[in-house]
């Protein structure tokens, strides 16, 4: 048993294990989506579930996203707990009406009498040259619309605990996994996401950020794969004598404003790192919170490191130029420190 307590898992395995545990515990939970059955999910998030639970609880769908996402809403309203995968977040446009006009609004529009407890999970992120329609993060788009919870894990431990919590949440939860964190054999994957994961069921509350690295000089607020770039930057900065605190938000909705503010009150400097587009997104939201609620603590302008306002390009040097990198983060850290 001692070896099992230090068992390390990839994020893909952690996600499928979380779903497995909840399916075993709750007969209302089922999975549907494209290639979630025998294939096990294009990104491995449902590996092994079809074999264990069969086609009645792990349902392959046609490429009819409006129908199966809307059906999940209807099934949830009738008492089931669907987990729906839509392969890439970039594909949500075809089903957006069911998400932002129905899933997100029905609880409110019904005065609280209808709820849609379901998880909509999807892959996001760049780093393997899949270009503009398969590389976005877009979590800011969903966080913008009231009524959707938005979860973005950065490592296997969080992925499992957040998934179990998401399945149990009485609301629609958008669960984003970064393709470059999953531990897939066929694309680059960040080893930092492979961490010790307990075998048993556990939850991580939605709306609680994680301080992944303590520091006193600069706060980096970030999420998803960028957590690891931020930690790398913090490690290099430490050599130069700059102490960087890295806050992994883990969820955008609910947002742990308290942890952001208390970190700022300690460090007085803020860098936001976001793999989403720069404008009108997470980085602007965090900067606004700092300006509204912690301006008197800031000793330097806020710096944002995000994707400039261009689609994600294909070619390797072009893609690498727009995705936030460790050197760009380090530049921002240096700027706010020397200001």
């Amino acid at each position: 048993m001692a070896t099992e307590t230090s068992r390390k898992l990839t994020m893909a395995r952690a996600i499928s294990e979380a779903i497995d545990l909840e399916m075993a515990a709750d007969s209302r939970v089922f999975v549907m989506g494209e290639d979630v059955g025998p294939y096990g999910g294009i990104f491995g998030s449902t590996t092994g579930l079809f074999t264990k639970y069969g086609p009645n609880r792990v349902i392959d769908t046609p490429i009819s996203e409006s129908a199966f996402i809307g059906a999940a809403a209807g099934a949830a309203a009738e008492g089931l707990r669907p987990i729906v995968e839509l392969m890439f977040v970039d594909f949500f446009g075809v089903a957006m009406d069911q998400i932002y006009n129905h899933l997100a609004k029905n609880h409110y529009m019904s005065g609280g009498s209808v709820s849609h407890p379901l998880v909509l999970m999807t892959a996001m992120g760049a780093g393997y040259n899949d270009a503009a329609q398969h590389s976005q993060t877009l979590y800011g788009l969903f966080a913008h619309v009231p009524g959707l919870k938005v979860v973005v894990p950065s490592n296997a431990y969080d992925a499992k605990g957040l998934m179990i919590q998401s399945i149990r949440d009485p609301n629609p939860v958008m669960y984003f996994f970064h393709k470059g964190l999953l531990g897939l054999g066929w694309m680059p994957s960040d080893d930092r996401a492979v961490v010790t994961v307990p075998e048993e069921s556990y939850t991580i509350p939605l709306g609680r950020a994680n301080i992944v690295r303590d520091g006193t000089d600069v706060t980096i607020v970030t999420i998803g794969a960028m957590v690891h770039r931020a930690v790398e930057a913090a490690e290099i900065a430490a050599v130069k004598g700059i102490s960087v605190e890295v806050v992994d938000l883990r969820t955008l909705v609910p947002l742990d404003t308290g942890t952001i503010l208390s970190s700022l009150k300690k460090t007085h400097r803020l860098v936001i790192v976001d793999e989403d587009y720069l404008s009108f997104g997470m980085s602007g939201e965090i900067a606004a919170i700092a300006a509204e609620q912690a301006l008197e603590y800031l000793e330097a302008p806020v710096r944002r490191v995000a994707v400039p306002n261009v689609p994600i390009p294909y070619s390797r040097p072009l893609e690498q130029a727009v995705i936030p990198s460790t050197p760009r983060i380090l530049d921002a850290v240096t700027y706010v420190t020397e200001f």
Partner: protein, 333 residues
Amino acid sequence: MDSKQAVFMYEQMLLIRRYEDQMAQIYTEGKSPLFSIAAGPVPGEMHLAAGQEPVAVGIGIHLRNDDAVTAPHRPHHIAIAKGVDLNRMTAEIFGRVDGLSHGKGGHMHLFDPQVHFSCSGIVGAGFPPALGAALAMKRQGSDRVAVAFAGEGAANQGTFHESLNLASLWKLPVVFIIEDNHYAISVPKSESTAVSRNSERAAAYNIPGVYIRDNDVVAIYEAGKEAIDRARRGDGPSLIEIETTRLYGHFQGDAEAYLAQGEKDEWRHHDPIPRFRDLLLANGWLDSATDQDIQTRVNARVDEAVGFARKSPEPMPEDALTDVFAETGKEAI
């Protein structure tokens, strides 16, 4: 159809008509001399369904409280036939605290989970949730069914085709009802749809498709019974398209300049309610004294609902900030 059912359906049709006529009146309150959609006790868009009563009633008669229904932006007739609480529905349309959604939904967003009724203001959006309700019912091993109502304009939405395919593929207990009222707002069916009857599209999804002409409540009753029985037995989905008439405009304030001259008069002269009354009288299922009693009862019922709504207070502004999320352990279901 026995006499008791027929008289019940007749009364429901009258209730819907009275309700829509009253709503048309009330909607004008506060909107003259200058018409403003935002003014008066009932603001916002108002889509009335007078003339479409046979659709709602001929299908609704076969449904139980625990069957699910999704309706479109023109929902009152379907809601009434499904047994939605009329007082709370009316209060919702007035935007009052005793409304189904305490004033957060309005006339296009009526939700009554007690009778598994919901609607949406987005054309074609009701097909997928009905599919999902049917999926839940099948998984739960019940004999409940789901019915999605939508206009003929919605049959050109992707959701219609995606949902028919999936319903057939998964053999779900769902019935799709298309209300062909001839116009998608102003665009006639012939200008929008490549087939003259959407029911023909059922063949593409390997399910039964029936077209019912002439707003015929008896034929709707028969077709509805067959489709709903079939779904309840576990034999899968059906599509029924029903020719009906929209006696008011698309919404209140619609000048209806797109209608041919005399088209509306023709519809009014062919009103389904007097036709059904004549049938009941001819069959000896109704006499004029009973008819009078029904009229009185229906008028009183609508008056009661409107009175309930008018008496209900307006919501407090701060209530706008609640109900975005369900609290854990307080799921609606």
